[in-house]
Symmetry: C2
Subunit: 122 residues, 2 copies
């Protein structure tokens, strides 16, 4: 059973965190045929943490988890913090396949998205 785990930074502003949960809900609808389980998790400030979100996915029956960093830059969070959390979870759940996707800022689709967002103004 496959799970998709959307990881955002986490904000002190509740509305920002709710945007992430709402995005995860929309992803859940769009990806139900691919991912039986869809969770949101946060690097810091708010919950669930990455560790807890992975545990929740495993508790729900996930045998494969794709961790998708909702981050624009390849900073320390993307390079070290999220991989470290995944490594710890992998030790805890050795039989579950846990993979990390590229952070979204690296997506080839970012360029057309930016152009579309700019053009929507004109």
């Amino acid at each position: 059973m496959k799970a998709l785990l959307l990881i955002a930074h986490g904000s002190r502003r509740t509305a920002s965190n709710e945007e992430v949960f709402a995005l995860a809900e929309r992803l859940k609808s769009s990806c139900a045929h691919q991912y039986s389980i869809l969770q949101a998790g946060f690097l810091e400030i708010t919950t669930p943490s990455i560790a807890t979100a992975i545990e929740n996915c495993v508790a729900a029956g996930a045998t494969s988890i794709t961790v998708l960093p909702y981050f624009l830059n390849s900073g320390i969070h993307v390079i070290k913090d999220i991989p470290d959390s995944i490594e710890q979870a992998q030790i805890k759940f050795p039989t579950v396949e846990i993979n990390m996707a590229e952070h979204i800022g690296a997506s080839e689709l970012m360029m057309p998205l930016l152009i579309d967002a700019a053009n929507a103004v004109n």
Copy 2:
């Protein structure tokens, strides 16, 4: 003459800021037919500031500037800080049309981007 101004948060990590400049360069190539001028600017921590970036666009001959926030959440930066900077610039340059695009997290193309990024793992 139209300008596109990509505004990122700004990071203490030089490589993150360089990613923004690199993205702006790629946008410049992709959008040359639409925007004669393409600049990157930063809300804080690094330069050019939004004010300076807008001044640079005007100095380069821009009569219309689209400010595109490279932000995922509709936090205080998107709701207040960037609009405030635009408002100040608008007072300084009353004949230049300055519009703010939606932050990229609000794009309808974010959903297919996320799905594509997740699927690239499998």
